[in-house]
């Protein structure tokens, strides 16, 4: 049993260092996995130290709770499909936030009447943010898992109602801070925060989920940090804040890559506001040219450099492995192949990289937008698979377009472009794509997986 608070503090310091190192190691895919193990070691030290604190009892409940949670965690983590990773992250975000809110509630119950000012402020913040994160994450999960419609759910006066609920929760929080020492007030705050969490994610569409998940990630970090103030634990303060910083940075990054402000994502109900503005494109008589797998195979065989531009359509068709086979086939013929990854390809930050890594695409072939864009003019064939808005040149050239200013992959600068797509239907932004009408572009219509399988056969035959 550890009774010396200095020893406890030092052991927690070890955990803090481990967590920081874990994040440091993530700066390169070479060391990243090692970093996760270092972080794991930090967590083991933190848990072991806490269990060894003087006076800890209720061992049966601690072990039982830990076991149940661990089993759920391991089974979930082991069985989840990589395409379902955003849901998984949302779920873990949610349970973390829920745990933080419950810890705050329990602390209030135990120490009520005996709490310093900053402690009650922290309890309020932890309960508020943790509950929003829990409920919001569950809705995000339900939407991504398609238990709920991925479409934005909107109704009149929505933002006003949301703000009213949040203000209600805030009022209860202020009452608690002002000295109202009643547990039902905190419970009421938690209930209102849960309602707010549900209502604020409902109107957000599936395409905006990368921003929401990052934001909820930050929220849970902040809730954990606030819990640290309640428990007087520097470990929780630092670890929670690291997550808060990470989530905030990713939220801003995602919003920027989608060319929208965070506020617009959260309160704009995408698609409701913008579809109307984009319909008017002048019909200049140009039409998209359809091509065949055989023609594309010939094109590819004569190329020196091919860049694959994967979008979420690729993952939906589960064609990652087929793309990798095609790429390997081309490389055997001495053709240089790279993958151009847009920051919002997929359903969460960096999702496409994980999906391709799962298909055994070596990571040194995956190029970020800034790295690959200067290479498009020297690219013979750009193979766009299930991507649309992120390759729309209107983002550079048409100030009237809703995506104007959004950073895109400069696919139109390649010598020739092959777009694999099911139909001419617009992407998430609901706008037409001039790329499809450019003279160097040909369209290979059909399911991405079928098209690529045909392409592989045709390349083999040529």
């Amino acid at each position: 049993m550890i009774s010396d608070p200095d020893v406890v503090g030092l052991l927690y310091l070890v955990s803090i260092v481990c967590f920081i190192l874990a994040l440091r190691f993530l700066s390169s895919p070479k060391h990243a996995r090692k970093g996760n193990w270092v972080g794991g070691a930090g967590m083991v030290v933190a848990i072991a130290t806490t269990l060894a604190l003087d006076g800890i009892s209720n061992w049966g409940l601690i072990v039982a709770g830990g076991l149940i949670g661990s089993i759920v965690g391991v089974v979930g983590a082991r069985t989840v499909k990589m395409t379902a990773m955003p849901q998984m992250v949302a779920l873990f975000n949610g349970v973390g936030g829920g745990a933080a809110a419950l810890v705050a509630l329990a602390e209030f119950h135990v120490s009520s009447g005996d709490l310093a000012g900053e402690e009650i402020v922290s309890i309020v913040l932890s309960a508020l943010i943790g509950s929003i994160s829990f409920a919001g994450s569950m809705i995000a999960f339900a939407k991504l898992q398609e238990l709920l419609s991925g479409r934005p759910i909107v109704y009149a006066g929505q933002n006003i109602l949301n703000i009213a609920v949040l203000l209600g929760a805030a009022a209860l929080g202020i009452a608690l801070i002002a000295g109202v020492d009643e547990q039902w007030v905190l419970v009421g705050l938690i209930v209102l925060a849960l309602v707010f969490g549900v209502m604020f994610v409902l109107p957000i569409g599936g395409a905006d989920m990368p921003v929401v998940i990052s934001l909820l990630n930050a929220f849970t970090g902040l809730a954990a940090s606030a819990t640290g103030f309640v428990l007087n634990s520097l470990l929780l303060i630092v670890a929670g804040m690291l997550v808060g910083a990470s989530g905030t940075l990713l939220t801003l990054l995602m919003a920027k890559a989608m060319n929208r402000s965070v506020a617009n994502v959260l309160f704009g109900a995408f698609g409701q506001v913008k579809t109307g503005t984009a319909a008017a494109r002048v019909d200049d008589g140009r039409t998209a040219r359809a091509t065949s797998a055989e023609d594309v195979a010939v094109q590819l065989s004569f190329a020196r450099k091919v860049v694959v531009v994967p979008g979420y359509g690729l993952a939906v068709a589960q064609a990652q492995h087929d793309v990798r086979q095609l790429a390997e086939l081309l490389e055997e013929k001495g053709i240089e192949v790279a993958y151009a990854i847009h920051p919002v390809a997929g359903r969460m930050p960096g999702h496409m990289n994980v999906l391709l890594a799962e298909a055994n695409v070596p990571y040194d072939q995956l190029k970020e937008m800034d790295e690959i864009n200067p290479e498009f003019p020297q690219t013979d064939v750009a193979l766009v698979i299930g991507a649309n808005d992120v390759v729309n040149p209107a983002a550079r050239s048409d100030p009237a377009s809703p995506i104007y200013g959004m950073p895109i992959l400069d696919v139109d600068k390649a010598n020739s472009v092959v777009v694999m797509k099911r139909s001419m239907a617009p992407g998430f932004a609901g706008i037409d794509n001039d790329l499809f009408l450019e003279p160097q572009t040909t369209m290979l219509f059909g399911n991405a997986k079928d098209s690529i399988v045909k392409l592989i056969a045709a390349v083999k035959a040529s």
Binding site: P5, L26, P29, L61, G73, F92, H109, A245, L250, G350
Partner: protein, 99 residues
Amino acid sequence: MTDIDLVVELTVLVLAIFLGFEVIAKVPTMLHTPLMSGTNFIHGIVIVGAITVLGFADDGFTRAIGFVAMVLASANVVGGWFVTDRMLEMFKRRPEERK
């Protein structure tokens, strides 16, 4: 746990924010999904709070709340770690060194 001065806590908090931004800015976009699940794992540190609450609980209400917090937090920790490890394992260079 010991009482720590609020100003000290706030100082540490602010330093952690700056440190967080510095470290996270160095993570390449390629690894942003593992970064999210990795930070997911790190906020599982709230398990320390759950253990403290449950371990020192001496009434039914606190035990019940603490138990649920314990289940949620340990799912967060264990699931977050395993899923991050699973993802990072997949990131590989090409087998033959071509560059």
